[in-house]
Symmetry: C2
Subunit: 393 residues, 2 copies
């Protein structure tokens, strides 16, 4: 039996496991120190009450033979698809129910969607970027081209007509940089994809953090995007589903390559390799899209965005260059005093007992940069920012 | 962009969707007829009380900031792994916690596990068989060899030393035939796999239905199996999780190919393409393995096995050849009067208003055979069996 030798080409140290190890080592050395984690992008607020109530109700249904649910549709229940359709309609995007596929999270679908594409395609990926785009394509042996995101382009790389790509990953608001494309910029990407017959995988996991109403929250707000783009979204960062697991993927009916509808291929993939999301979780997700659910989610997002403001203000006061934080839970800063990303990581851990994510872990252009997230507890964010201010002044 | 053209080699009609369509057509023609479904392998009993209680408790935890859970370990929480370890220990199988990976169901893992193997491998699959083994390998473009399961070998094909395979799928108790390998037979498979350096993917989704204590419920009850086998299990058919989604995959530390530990490859796959199972679902699964949970599960299984007895007795009285039903929820019968599988399907639907699964949908050796499942409601099983008796005598 031959293993998939592409796996051997993966780098050994996964960013977050390295961070965890470093923090654990520090903790065992200084067990009394309290560490504040502004590193991993995990939420800290509980599930909205509307979601909790829907979960209890659905669990009770599962306890009676008459309301018990066994296998559901692999692509998701219509009640949830309808809720998502309505959510999109509010910003002028009209979807068919069969274009929406309920998933157990954006992370899985970002990897799994690649199943329906040939391994011969060339992939265009921003650098720095969420490591999953790169690793999943290395696993399949695809050729990868990186587009440089730098301080000069505000970490928003634009298409280069000299480069020919087949699959383009775009994440906006971006993880890790927090940078957000405007409509004109996304239109350039759509035009580029159409011109070279490429498909865009649009990761919209952070769309709910966009405060500026002029910025696009879905790629389908851009003309012709349905002819070239798949959109992958999640309930993790808005409704707090990081530990509850639900997302959705949109594959428009208009998307055709080599005369084949990608929607049909994805449907086939999902009905073969997936058995759908738990009924109780889909009811929870449905509740997140209700008026009550959305009102609670707004509160959580405001809470996190107020954290972001505290971080941004601190950085501004210290004259540290950064992007993000305005329409995104991520703040991407230039390491002060010419430190490398890991040097700044160690510096913050040891001197401010604060954990962030080294930018170099997201790609070579991330070197010298650093990601802070606004998902922490308010008090912790304030303490961390005070400490950072005091050690850097 | 080039699509994965292997998808175009898949057959268009998925068995269960064809069944659904035929049933819907019949219903729209005769709206007053009540149809009894002994076709799809879905459970009908509610979740055990222990599971329901654990779910409510875990949901409540998610409502408070202090007990809320965000991202969990991608490979699962230790509390559930410990429960599974203990479950295996009772039958003398000792596992390490890192060998157990919690999944959102056996179906996904049966497809996803193939990620870590080269597409150049040759796959050995029983015919007839659960269609997922075949379809997922067609999607990856692997060469498939079928091993014939027939009336002559009681639908339990044994290794053929003239055939060289790299990946071997074994399902015992088998879906769709209900046939179960004994220890000597599984030992032959383990020896064969070791002799040709192959890996066995052992699908144990129905292990809880084994009544005969001499029959192996895990492949690891066989000497040296840890050197060649991955085991994939599910809570769907024992704890009623078909709509709640939880399973587990065991990748022993001893499994090495080309000097690489498969456990490490699978860990890398899961930490990259998966974000773990919902916390509340893992608590539900943990409850299923408690003494209280297991006692309730036994009751459900006894209920289904009593259904199986009713079906078996009816078939015996009519002198219809069948296998399964004794240690499995599936009864695999030879269609009477020389009917083909689909002829018998139509005959049962029209004359007894009962739905089963045509054996030919599971492979060419399934032609002329038919699958009935014991997951139905008792009263429905009794009505269906009476009707079948009356139309066949």
């Amino acid at each position: 039996m031959k293993i998939n030798s592409n796996y051997l080409k993966l780098e050994n140290n996964y960013l977050f496991s390295t961070i965890t190890k470093k923090v654990e080592d520090y903790k065992s050395k200084y067990p009394k120190k309290e560490i504040i984690n502004l590193g991993i992008g995990d939420v800290t607020q509980p599930l909205p009450t509307a979601v909790i109530n829907a979960l209890h109700k659905a669990v009770s249904e599962m306890s009676s033979k008459h309301t018990f649910r066994g296998y559901g549709p692999e692509h998701g229940y219509n009640f949830l698809k309808t809720a998502i359709r309505t959510y999109y309609e509010k910003r002028g995007v009209f979807l068919e129910e069969n274009e929406i596929f309920i998933s157990e999270g954006a992370n899985s679908d970002l990897g799994n969607i690649l199943d329906i594409f040939s391994n011969d395609n060339t992939v265009l990926i921003p650098d720095p970027v969420y490591p999953v785009y790169m690793d999943t394509n290395i696993m399949a042996g695809r050729k990868i081209i990186f587009m440089c995101a730098t301080e000069e382009n505000n970490f928003l790389p634009m298409p280069d007509k000299n480069i020919k790509a087949d699959i383009i990953f775009i994440c906006s608001p971006n993880n890790p940089t927090g940078a957000v494309y405007n409509k004109d910029q996304l239109k350039e990407w759509v035009d580029y994809a159409l011109s070279c017959n490429a498909v865009i995988i649009f990761d919209g996991a952070y769309e709910a953090y966009i405060q500026d109403r002029k910025l696009p929250r879905s790629i389908y707000e851009i003309e012709d995007a349905k002819k070239c783009a798949i959109e992958i979204c999640s309930l993790s960062k808005n409704a707090g589903f990081t530990g509850t697991r639900c997302g959705y993927t949109i594959v428009p009916n208009e998307l055709r390559f080599e005369g084949v509808h990608l929607n049909m291929l994805w449907l086939r993939r999902q009905t073969t390799k997936f058995n759908g999301v738990a009924y109780i979780i889909q009811r929870a997700a449905e509740a997140a899209f209700t008026e009550e659910g959305q009102a609670e989610i707004s509160k959580f997002i405001n809470y996190y965005m107020d954290n972001a403001k505290i971080i941004c203000n601190t950085l501004q006061n210290m004259n540290i260059w950064f992007t993000g934080g305005e329409n995104s839970p991520y703040i991407w800063l230039k390491c002060p005093k010419g430190m490398t990303s890991w040097e700044f990581f160690d510096f913050l851990l040891e001197r401010a007992n604060t954990v962030g994510s080294p930018g170099s872990g997201f790609g070579k252009n991330g070197e010298g940069f650093f990601r802070l997230t606004s998902f922490g507890d308010r008090k912790n964010v304030e303490i961390a920012m005070k400490k950072i201010s005091s050690i850097l002044i």
